[in-house]
Every structure is written in C-alpha cells, then in structure tokens.
C-alpha cells in the first residue's frame, strides 16, 4: 500500500513537473524563435505566443516581459509611421509584467527601450522629454539590481550610437561598456529562460572602440 501511495505521489509529481516543464520548454522554444525571427510577421507571431503563455499562466512576468521587449524593439527599428503606436502597445504589455514583479531591474530596462522608441519618432522635438526618461529608467534599473549588466549595456549603447558632436562616441561609451562586460562575466541568469541578452553587443561595442 505504501508503495502504491509512492507510485501515485510520483505520478502526481510528474504531472506537476510536466506542467512547469511545459512552461519552461514553451518559453525556451519561444526565446529561440524570438532570436531567429527576421520578418515583422515572425516577430508578431512570437509576441502572440508569449502573450498566450502569459495569459494562461497568469502569474509569470517573463512572457509579458519578452512580448514587451519585442514590441519595443519593433518600435525602435520600424521605418513606418507606427513607432508611437508600437511603443504604446509595448507599455501596455510591460505594465502587466510590472504588476507581477515590482521594481524589477529587467522591466525597467525595457521601459528605457520604450522611451528610446518614443524619442526616435521626432528626436528634435522629443529629446528633452524622452531623453530624460531613458536615463531615468536606466538609473532606476541600476538601483534595483546593481549586478544587472543590462542597464550598463543600454547606457553604453546609447552613448555609442550618439554622434561624437552630441557627447557620444567610443571614448565616453567604452568605460561603461567595460563595466557592463565585467558584470556580464559574473552574471548568472536565474534559469534558462531568464533575461540573458546584450553581452554580444557589448563585445561588439568594445571591439569597435579598440
């Protein structure tokens, strides 16, 4: 009888494990698809997959986080007239992540990305308002988790991409990029699906600046 109980307990725990395993494997697959996505259509399909997981799970902030990150990225690279709309959508999604995980350094990084997209709609007119927001979120992200390399990556990348005449360029970007790399080297993501991006870009910046 005891063994029977063990058997059922095992079976039951397998089911539980299967459930969270399902989440992990779906997330892993989606993160891979996100990395592989090239076209707008592919991006939209991945965003929707993340959103389905998020809506089904209800308590996980990560799927919302990835959906918002992709939307923000799409807003930044869009050449069409929809930057503002995409950025607003990203904010709506990110707010849901934020509701599940407050003062999260990773979420604050995406806020900064969204502000970047907003500014790029009309840099001349918007740099005052959104330029300030970009850095505000980066600073808050640093405060929320001093070991997170991504706020440093975003800061280094923003400066790197700013023309030298406007206070950007390698010289100013490099020390921050180095700090970011140092943090990346000691950074251990919590699990396979936790945010773990930006290191390659930092290496590229450092390569370009050497």
């Amino acid at each position: 009888m005891k063994q029977l109980l063990i058997a059922f307990a095992l079976l039951f725990s397998t089911a539980i494990f299967a459930q969270s395993d399902k989440y992990m494997s779906a997330m892993k697959a989606n993160i891979q698809q996100m990395k592989d996505a090239k076209t707008n259509e592919e991006n939209i399909a991945v965003i929707q997959k993340f959103e389905r997981i998020a809506e089904a799970e209800k308590t996980q902030w990560l799927p919302y986080y990835y959906a918002a990150m992709l939307k923000a990225t799409m807003a930044i690279i869009s050449q069409e007239d929809n930057k503002d709309a995409l950025a607003d959508e990203a904010t709506t999604t990110l707010d849901k992540a934020d509701a599940l995980s407050k003062n999260n350094s990773e979420i604050l990084c995406i806020r900064s990305l969204i502000a970047t997209a907003k500014m790029l709609v009309n840099p001349q007119a918007r740099y005052m308002e959104f330029g300030m927001l970009i850095n505000k979120y980066i600073n808050e992200a640093k405060k929320a988790d001093a070991n997170n390399p991504r706020p440093y990556y975003l800061e280094a990348s923003n400066i790197f991409n700013t023309p030298k005449q406007f206070g950007g360029g390698c010289e100013k970007s490099k020390p921050i990029a180095e700090k970011a790399l140092q943090l990346y080297n000691s950074f251990k993501p919590e699990n396979e699906i936790a945010p773990n991006w930006g290191k390659e870009n930092i290496e590229q910046i450092l390569k370009a600046c050497n």
């Binding site: 063990i6 929707q48 389905r52 709309a85 007119a125 740099y127 005052m128 300030m132 406007f166």
Partner: protein, 755 residues
C-alpha cells in the same frame, strides 16, 4: 487489486501509466482551421487566435487563414484579437474532430486610426499625428522670423506678407480679423504698441507654448469674434527641469529662472528682459529720426501646479512698458516734420484650471485680465524740431494727443465628455467684459463698455475610422450692440486612403466692429451690428510623420462690414476666394527640412470709406514662401533660410471731393512685388559636452539678405500731388545674440546623450 512486490515492478507501472498518459495525449490532438476577415470581408493578417487559458493558438497569415493543433480536450473558448478591432470569441469543444471557425472582426474607432477634421487648420505640437506643422522649435529656427510666432506663421499658406501693420492677414481679411487665444481665452493687444506703418512683434515668446493651432477658416464653435482666423496657443505644462537663463544680444539683455519642485508636481518661474535699440540704431541707419530711442521693459512670471487627479492649474502674467519717439518728413510739406511719441504699459494675466472629472468628463476653467494703456502724441515740427501751428487745417489736424485704455476680462468654462468610443461632446460659456476709454486732445472722452456673453456646444462624431463630423453652434450677445447672433459650424472629414483624407467645412462667423471704426467722438459708439463672414472650405491632406501635402480651396462671403461714409453703418460687403498648397518634407534630402507654401487669393470688398468694391490694400493674388532648415552636426550649427514672395498690392488715393460730397479714387496703382530672403544661423558650441555646466546658443540672423526694395503701400499728401512709399525703417534687420542656460540638475546630460 494490485500488489507490488518490488520496486522494479512499480517503476514499470509508472512507466506504463506515464506512457499511456502521453500516448493518449498524442491521439487527442484536435485541428482547428479558419479565416479572419474584417466587416468588409477583407482578410486580416496578424490576428492572434488563442484557445484561452492554454498556450495554444496561431497568428493569421496574409490571407487571414490560421491553423492550430492542440492536445487539450474539453470545452474551451477560442478568441481572435487584434489591436484596433473588437475581439471575437466562440465556445468550442475539443474532441479530436477537426473544427472550422471563421471570425469577423469589427474595426474599432480609435484615435490613432480615425480621420481628423483638418479643414482650415494647421496644427502644431507633438501630441497630434495629423498636420503637425509648426512647433516652438520651428518658430525659433525659421530664418528671418527672429523668434516671432506671427512671422513664422506668415510662411504658412493663407497669410499675406503685410509688413506695415501687425497681425495675421488671412484670406482677404484684415489683421484684426484674426484673434489670438491663449488657453482658449482671447488676448487683447497681443502685439507690442508701435508707430504707424511699422509692424511690431508679438508679445508672447514661442517657448511659452507647447503647441498651436492656426486656423485659416472654418474654425470650431468653441471660439468666436474673429471673421477670418484664430491662432490658438496652448501654454506649456511643467518644465522638464529647473533652470537659470540669461541672454545678451544686439538689442536686448535678459535673465530668468524657473524652478521645478523635487516631486515634479509644481513649478514657478520669472523672467525679465530689457530692450534698447540705441546701440543698434547707432550702427544701422534708420529712415526715421528717432529722438526717443525705442526702449522696452518686459517681465513675466508663472506658476504651475499638477493636481492629484492629473489636472493642471496654471498662472501666467506678463508686464511690459515701452516708449519711443520718431520724426518723419511731413507728407504735405517737405519743410515740416511729423513727430510721433508713444508710451505704452501693458499687463496680462491668465489663470487656467484643467481637470479630469472622471467617467469621461473633463473641465477647463479660465480667467484672464489685461489692461493696456497707450499715450500717443503726434506733433508738427519745423526744421529746428520745434512745435509749430501752420494755420492750414489738414496739417494742423495731424496734431493729436490720444490717451487710450483697453481693459479686457474674460471668464470661460468648457466641459468635455466622451460619449462613445472617441466621440466627444464639448460645451461651455464665456463672458468678456471690455472697457475702452479714449481721451482725445485732452478734450473729447469716449468710454465704451461691452458685456459679451457666449454659449457654445460642439460634438466630434466618429461614425467609423473613415468618417467623422464636427458640428457645433455658438450663441452670442453683446450689450454694446444690443444684438444677438447664432453662428453654426459644420465640418466633415473622410479618409480617402492610407494617410490621406478630405475635409469640408462650413461656418458663420460674427465679429464686433473695431471700436475705432465706429467711435463717436462725442461719446460712445455709433449703433451698429456685428460684421459677418461665411466660410466654405474643402481640403485634402496626405501626410506621414516626415512629409505633409495639403491643398485647400475656399470661398468666403463678407456681409455687414462697417462703412464709415456716408454714415457709419453695416452696409459693407465683400468676398474672398482662392486655393492654397502646402508641402513639407523632412525625408527627401538628408538633414534638410523644408516647406513650400503657395496661396492664390481673389478678394474684393466695400468697407470703411471705399467708394466702391475694391481689392483691399492688404491683399495680393499670389504669395509664396519657401523655408529650409538644416543642422550640420559636425559644425554644431543650424542654417535656416526663408524666402517670401508676394505679387504687388494695390494702393489708392481715396480723397473726399467737396463738390460731389463723396469719396473718390483720385489715383491708384500697384506696388512692386515683394522678395524677402531671411537667414538665420544657430551655433551650439557646448552641444554634447557632458561636463559643460552652461548650455549656449549663439544666434545670428538677417532679414532681406538680398537687400531688395520692400514697398508695402503708398501714402498721399492732402492735395494728392505727393506720393510716398511705405517702407520698413531700414531695409534689413541684423541680429546677433547669445542665449545661455544653466541646468540646476544633471539632466542636461541625459538630453545631450540622446539627441
């Protein structure tokens, strides 16, 4: 009953159960296929189709088709959703049988997609997608505009290049037919007081406003008392940071401070500026002989408080005092001079309170008060600059002493309610109390008071994203005229394609006559009614964030214009018709932003002392403006050019014939065409220097670079034998200035980083 004797068996069993479990899953797969169309039966791509509470779903392809396989079993809800459409869902039962489901999604009317009523208006500012045309930064960087809002707006279609009077002359209308509103409240004396035949600048700096709407006709029922046009200026909310600023230039010095509270919920600021043209006139020769050099003191202050519910309380006040004195050769006798002196004091106050009341309600309350005092003296002087009396009535009549005071108090309240979707209703009321007092030659006093009340209502109705109406009306009553009127306004907008739309508009507009036109020198005014204009417009706009193309045609009928002869009454009339083109492009040429405006105008009117229906002296058929701006990052310098062209304007010698007892045209002609190329340069030496504590902008500008002859009009002597061109006091205006600001916090770094 199972009995397990060893662990191996148990493991096997677990294995079997697990595999059976998995096996059954494989065989429980259900296929779902279908299509998603919009309500016009066009396939929708990118729709998310989800089986709710599962991970399963799909994205529709370009043909609106989708395909889902799921291992789930039982009753579920399947939902199709996409931004801008109403979601649709159905109950399904997953039981291995293939399911076919088609969805039809109805488009939602949304602010992003919906058509906007644009007939007649140019909207500037960052928040609106449509017709973003002229921002504060645009005003500062328009060559030749010297940071003056009106000068920059004169590069937009519908305006005339009138240089001898201030104001915006829109579509055959006189300058006073355009009214400026700050936060919805009309502003009296929005331009500095000056001398005859020289246009003055606007009193309000472009940086005070976050956006402006310039309507060249057919404007909203929320505003009234402007026959031609309104310029709606919306004041800024909280500043981005605390800052101190100073400026020094060839004509003025200034300093200011603004403080933003730490919690970013409130701010206050003060500025002071002093303008003196002594050094400038010493270097650049002016046509008139200035015996009192123009001198201006200008102070302003403000505070702004953000309320708990996200509303805003704002106060702005502006005080200015200026004086000047100048002499010109008298037109009737070359041995005599006309001496003109002016002293002006002006005080303006504006308080507004905007609040979200919840449940889709918003309110805007406002109060403004301004008082303006001009003390003007014109004298006839001899060659030794001594006052003389000639005994010739038409020369001595030019000696005038005028002390005038204009006070205006405005109270205004507007309520706004979202009715459904983005459709909105607005209604409200306003009350103006104007008090005008004129003291002529220390002898005749005229006091003119008016209580003006208006009630207005308007609705923006969005039928679909493609079709919208704006309908409204305005009821007005003026105690001075003891007359009421009802002014209907109607506009319709239809989206003709991606980024393209058409609008038509109709409206009736009433305006109180200018006090000086109906003044009765014994006291008060002659009893007259409102002047009236009826506008019909049609417009087409195609725009993206980087390019705007706009074409508009209009017909405007004037009725009840003021005639001052033989009696002062409302028997004048006129018309204006024409079309306008506008093209702005930030895309084609790298780093170059340019716009081109062309206006065609055909207008005639019979008003004031015109003996017949004439093309007014402030109107010309063809006007063209080309504006270019480019910023060269390498040099940290912006180069801005503005070219304004206008065909000649008519001028008349309208004189009274004592034999026929009528006004007659003794002479007439057309001025030469106007060419005016303006240039300005902004150099930002510290741009991007992260450690720089001071932000510096150096500005150099010149108007009329080509030194062309600018002739605005002609004036005639009493006997009609002498004709004198009305020209600016100097052909060109040069300006060099340095603007400094010091951020009180570190956020300037952020700005520079991300420029």
């Amino acid at each position: 009953m199972f009995v397990f004797s060893n662990d191996d068996l148990m493991k096997k069993l677990v294995g079997i159960i697990t595999s059976v479990f998995l096996f059954s899953n494989v065989f429980a797969q259900t296929k779902i296929t279908g299509t998603v169309n919009d309500n016009k039966n066009k396939p929708l791509a990118g729709v998310s189709i989800s089986i709710l509470n599962t991970y399963d779903g799909a994205t529709s392809d370009v043909n609106g088709k989708f395909f889902i396989t799921t291992n789930e079993q039982g009753a579920f809800i399947i939902e199709a959703k996409m931004l801008g459409y109403k979601s649709a869902s159905q109950n399904i039962s997953l039981n291995k049988n293939e399911i076919k489901i088609d969805f039809i999604l109805k488009e939602e009317v949304s602010e992003l997609k919906a058509v906007t009523v644009t007939a007649g208006s140019f909207e500037a500012g960052d928040k609106k997608r449509v017709a973003t045309v002229l921002t504060a930064l645009d005003v500062y960087t328009t060559g030749g505009a010297n940071g003056d809002i009106t000068s920059a707006i004169k590069t937009l279609p519908g305006t005339q290049q009138v240089g001898e009077q201030e104001g915006l002359f829109v579509r055959g209308g006189a300058g006073y037919e355009t009214k400026q509103m700050i936060d919805g409240m009309v502003v009296n004396n929005p331009f500095y007081s000056g001398s005859p035949d020289i246009a003055t600048r606007g009193r309000f700096a472009p940086g005070l406003f976050k956006g402006n709407i310039f309507s060249t006709g057919g404007y909203s029922a929320l505003y009234g008392q402007a026959l031609s046009s309104v310029l709606l200026l919306e004041s800024i909310d909280l500043p981005n940071r605390s800052e101190a600023s100073a400026s020094i230039s060839s004509v003025f010095v200034g300093a200011g401070f603004q403080h933003l509270a730490k919690n970013k919920k409130s701010s206050y600021g003060i500025n002071y500026g002093y303008t003196n043209l002594l050094p400038y006139f010493a270097v650049i020769k002016q046509k008139p002989d200035y015996f009192t050099l123009p001198e201006f003191h200008n102070a302003d202050a403000n505070f702004r408080i953000k309320t708990k519910r996200g509303g805003m309380i704002k106060y702005y006040t502006n005080f200015s005092a200026n004086k000047m004195g100048l002499r010109n050769v008298d037109i009737d006798s070359s041995l005599l001079k006309d001496a003109f002196t002016l002293k002006n004091n002006f005080w303006y106050n504006n308080v507004s309170y905007k609040e979200n009341l919840g449940k889709g309600w918003k309110s805007l309350l406002g109060f403004s008060y301004s008082t303006n005092n001009d003390i003007i003296q014109t004298d006839i002087q001899n060659q030794n600059n001594q006052s003389v009396t000639t005994g010739i009535h038409y020369i001595d009549d030019k000696k005038i002493a005028l002390n005038s005071q204009q006070d205006l108090t405005v109270l205004r309240g507007v309520l706004e309610k979202r009715i459904s979707g983005i459709s909105t209703v607005r209604f409200g009321s306003e009350y103006w109390y104007s008090f005008n007092k004129y003291l002529y030659n220390n002898n005749f006093t005229s006091t003119i008071k008016d209580h003006y009340t208006a009630i207005f209502a308007e609705t923006d109705l969005y039928i679909t994203n493609q079709l919208a109406f704006k309908a409204g009306g305005r009821f007005e009553y003026s105690s001075m005229m003891k007359a009421r009127n009802i002014a209907p306004r109607l506009a319709l907008a239809y989206k003709t394609g991606n980024n393209a739309q058409m609008s038509i508009a109709f409206g009736e507009f009433y305006q109180k006559p200018e006090v000086l036109q109906i003044m009765n020198y014994n006291n008060g005014v002659h009893q007259t009614g409102y002047t009236k204009a009826t506008h019909y417009l049609i417009n087409y706009i195609k725009n993206t964030s980087l390019q705007t193309f706009r074409v508009e045609a209009f017909y405007k009928k004037y009725n009840n214009l003021i005639k001052t002869f033989p009696d002062t009454n409302n028997t004048g009339n006129g018309y204006a018709q024409g079309f306008e083109l506008f093209w702005r492009d930030k895309k084609t040429f790298k780093n170059i932003d340019y716009w081109i405006s062309y206006s065609y105008l055909d207008t005639k009117r019979d008003f004031l002392n015109y003996p017949t229906t004439l093309q007014p002296t402030f109107a010309t058929p063809h006007t063209l403006s080309v504006v270019t701006k480019t910023f060269v990052t390498k040099w940290k310098t912006g180069f801005n050019f503005t070219y304004n062209f206008a065909t000649g304007r008519p001028y008349y010698n309208i004189a009274f014939n004592n034999n026929t007892n009528k006004y007659e045209i003794l002479d007439e002609g057309k001025t030469i065409s106007l060419h005016n190329l303006g240039f300005s340069l902004n150099y930002l030496p510290n741009l991007g220097k992260q450690n720089a504590k001071t932000f510096i902008v150096l500005v150099a500008s010149v108007t009329n670079v080509l030194n062309s002859n600018l002739i605005y009009n002609y004036r005639y002597s009493y006997n009609g034998l002498n004709k004198v061109a009305v020209t600016p006091p100097a052909k060109q205006f040069f300006f060099i200035g340095c603007f400094l600001s010091w951020g009180v916090d570190k956020t300037q770094d952020a700005i520079n980083n991300n420029l």
